[in-house]
Subunit: 206 residues, 3 copies
Amino acid sequence: MLYTTVDMLGVIAFAISGVLVAMEKRLDLFGVGIIAMVTAIGGGTIRDLLVGEVPVDWMRHAYIVYVILLTTVLAVLFQNRLKNLRKSLFLFDTIGIGLYTLVGIEKGLAAGLSPVICIALGTITACFGGVLRDILCNEIPVIFRREIYASACIAGGILFFVLLAGGIDPGYCNIAGILTVILIRLLAVRFHIGMPNIYRDRGPAG
Amino acid sequence: MLYTTVDMLGVIAFAISGVLVAMEKRLDLFGVGIIAMVTAIGGGTIRDLLVGEVPVDWMRHAYIVYVILLTTVLAVLFQNRLKNLRKSLFLFDTIGIGLYTLVGIEKGLAAGLSPVICIALGTITACFGGVLRDILCNEIPVIFRREIYASACIAGGILFFVLLAGGIDPGYCNIAGILTVILIRLLAVRFHIGMPNIYRDRGPAG
Amino acid sequence: MLYTTVDMLGVIAFAISGVLVAMEKRLDLFGVGIIAMVTAIGGGTIRDLLVGEVPVDWMRHAYIVYVILLTTVLAVLFQNRLKNLRKSLFLFDTIGIGLYTLVGIEKGLAAGLSPVICIALGTITACFGGVLRDILCNEIPVIFRREIYASACIAGGILFFVLLAGGIDPGYCNIAGILTVILIRLLAVRFHIGMPNIYRDRGPAG
């Protein structure tokens, strides 16, 4: 129950991030709704397709679609007040990627996949909704541009497997993984830490 | 038989719309063919992947691929005359989205999915070929930009389920749904009705 | 064993082509790694999803992911020397599309699909990693722009089925198909042969 409530905060935060990007591109109401939907459930959809869990998650849990549609309508109605919510939204989004990463990892384990593949699945779950959002809005995905976002998911995933290999109870590994993702993301944004520059000539574009 | 013939008109109209967009981008013959293919069968492919009906539809019915390839070659050969066909093409396309929407809904019902998910599947079947076309051509999907297109599919889908809940014979619900999609789309284009403006500051970009 | 070694050369060449495009867009290390991954395994992933072979190939063979990650790190570290390798990379890439085309065709045959669909699967396996790479980097896919690339795959696939229909041993058909793809691609690049111009008014843009 608590889990589902917290999970829904992540869905709402992802949906609103989709609404914001879509409205910047001045899409119509349908377009805004689709982008909200894709941002919130796109990562989990790709994950389910890759492991073969079909019909994919949101098709079996229609209430997620209702939550996203309601969020979209409210976000469009109160568009002028959204900027006052930026801090809460950032927090929800961060909690969301923490949860999504570990949900993806658990699905990978249930499918009998190896740790590195599970971590990839977790990262896809957490980050590829945003990637699809940016592709549909004709932008290079923002997570490919120096932000500590996917890297936080990967770090949390690695910690999960390190603890698991150390004989720690899976439930604790799970919580530790989620908190690690959240903590790294919060610290990176708080202290303006980005990915290292890999270019020899000059700084990156982003 | 009648159904298949009408269905093929939809496939042909979608394929030609792909050819037109691809030729505007001046792609080569292979690129034009791929865009035609993706436009005509992309929506159904995404639908089949989401519900887990694999190999996807066009792989089990190769004649669809032949129809699209032939359409592409003819459209390229007679490219100068295509503009004279715009009215017929628009009509075929409109019939196509009506049929595709209800095909998607039926597949959703067969998979035991709830009405809102079935309507989503129908809309994906009808509209996401065009979405993939625009993404491959590096454009923001045109259906996200104020046209009554996906909304017509959603309205037809809702009517289908309202009638079904009212105890009407499924066959009649089906026909009523298809005709509703077609009628709304025709009326919207005829009377220049678009999606409502959702922006407080100024009008949308599109 | 030889097969796997040669196959890995293709994976490495595809991954490096992803690194090069991603670095041109000045993505961060994570973005470069994802683009490398998508370029190398995207085509096979789409193929596996379409025929329903899940979890998809790379999830069952994690060593491919390690090879790509190592390739990415080395390519970034030695970025200044990559241009000296262009000829080898082109050769590896060409061998790669030859192998991938026939792998895709074999998977299609194993799934009981008809020849034209098998050839489509082979071409998707060989070419759609590059298509995904270009979409993620916000470019119209380069293979849609006059190069003999996908056409070489299609030609090799057709030859495979012609020989097979002629009663030739499948193993020989396979090798003949691979060599045909490689040969056509090499000759096209060597003699600057592109796809024919299909535009009546002026030349294509690309």
